[in-house]
Amino acid sequence: MENPLIVNGKRTDGRSPTELRPLKIDVGIIKNAAGSSYIEHGKNKIIVAIYGPRDSHRYGMNIERATLRCRYHMSPFSTEERKSPQPSRREIEISKVIRDALEPSLILENFPKTMIDVFVEVLQSDGGSRSASITAASVALADAGIPMKDLVEAVAVGKVDGTLVLDLNDIEDKEGESDMPVAFMLNENKVTLLQMDGKMTVEEFKAGLMMAMEAAKKIKEIQKEALAKKYSKGDRKNDA
């Protein structure tokens, strides 16, 4: 192996295999949006803004419930090389994946024939941006007052140098043997997203899922703290 990614049990960024990257969430950062959040997950920096529910007469609108739309976009300066601002195939796929991961948690029946927009803007990307986006979008939806059964939290697990690792960074994502982002609704005991690149054995898959679930519990606490920070201080003077 030319450049091992794990040396003496430590990864390239000094973490142990089961350690999360530093995670910080701020709520209510965009005044014009119904709800918003900002997440820093490792080197990922992402803003999420929610608009709606709003009346919609578009053809194909669901008359029984609100339609959730999601736009995941990477800023041209979010990567090392300039990224074209046009939506790429990957961005279109991730937009769909985020929407599918969030939808089961929302009670959309309360807003028939309306539209809820989720805008995800990646300012800086470092691997695992879809997971971080889901975590942040769920908080932003709660901030927007959209009724929800549970918060959704997401994290990736993968295999690097034959070892199961949690919360892959960019280099591990690219050079590792597999990558599996998972999103949870922990109270409902549901998985709302599960994708996998590469290969894992059944045992590795099971162990990885458990590892992700434990991490999701920690992420949920951070989500709760972020919401509590905004709403329990009793004073909005520091809001944007």
Binding site: A34, P53, R54, F111, A142, G145, L227, Y231
Partner: protein, 223 residues
Amino acid sequence: MSKLVVPGEVVAKGNFRSWSNVLKKGEEYLSIFVGKAEVGGGRVRVVRLSGPYIPKVGDFVIGMVTDVQPLAATIDINSYVNGYIMANAFFKRRIDPSKFDLSKKVNLGDLIAAKVQRIERGKDVYLQPDQKWKVEGDAVFYISPAKAHYIYTSRSRIPSKIKELTGAEVRLGANGVVVVKGDLKKIEMVKRALDVIESKYDLNGLYNEIIKVLSKDGESTDS
């Protein structure tokens, strides 16, 4: 003492007679909003702290006329849905469409006070005009619909106290629309009181806080 809860958080366990803004799962009641949990007297509810105005039958709302057709007017009620007032709702009797034109009664931009009479298909909100349905004011303010609804449903003394301390004529809709009639000084005082409501997420102690702010206002203008 109310506790801050987030979606999916257990608000209470057991059996309750009534509940709102929670999801019942077995014996557990889970919040569906970020809000203040209130448990007691056989009931459990979460007071929302954010979100749009969700119309409920019986709510008193203030809205602006955005479209007038011969037999119905469309009202912007500061929500994700529009309100509608049928022409016959003004007279409480059937009217002859060939002889009646609603545009003689209401115009675009008029402010109208009304009660939510019925909601059809979860989206079409029909309103019954209030006895004093035409709202005339010198200033219109918007406050968070979630808070306005709380103030309205909890029969808070806040609106009457604001009227008393400012001397202005104030009409507060459950949809967060506030219409004020009075001179500039009175309007400014009402605005300050509304700023207090807007600046606080903690709804406890709001009443006293408003009295404090408005009393200070009175002192500073007197001196």
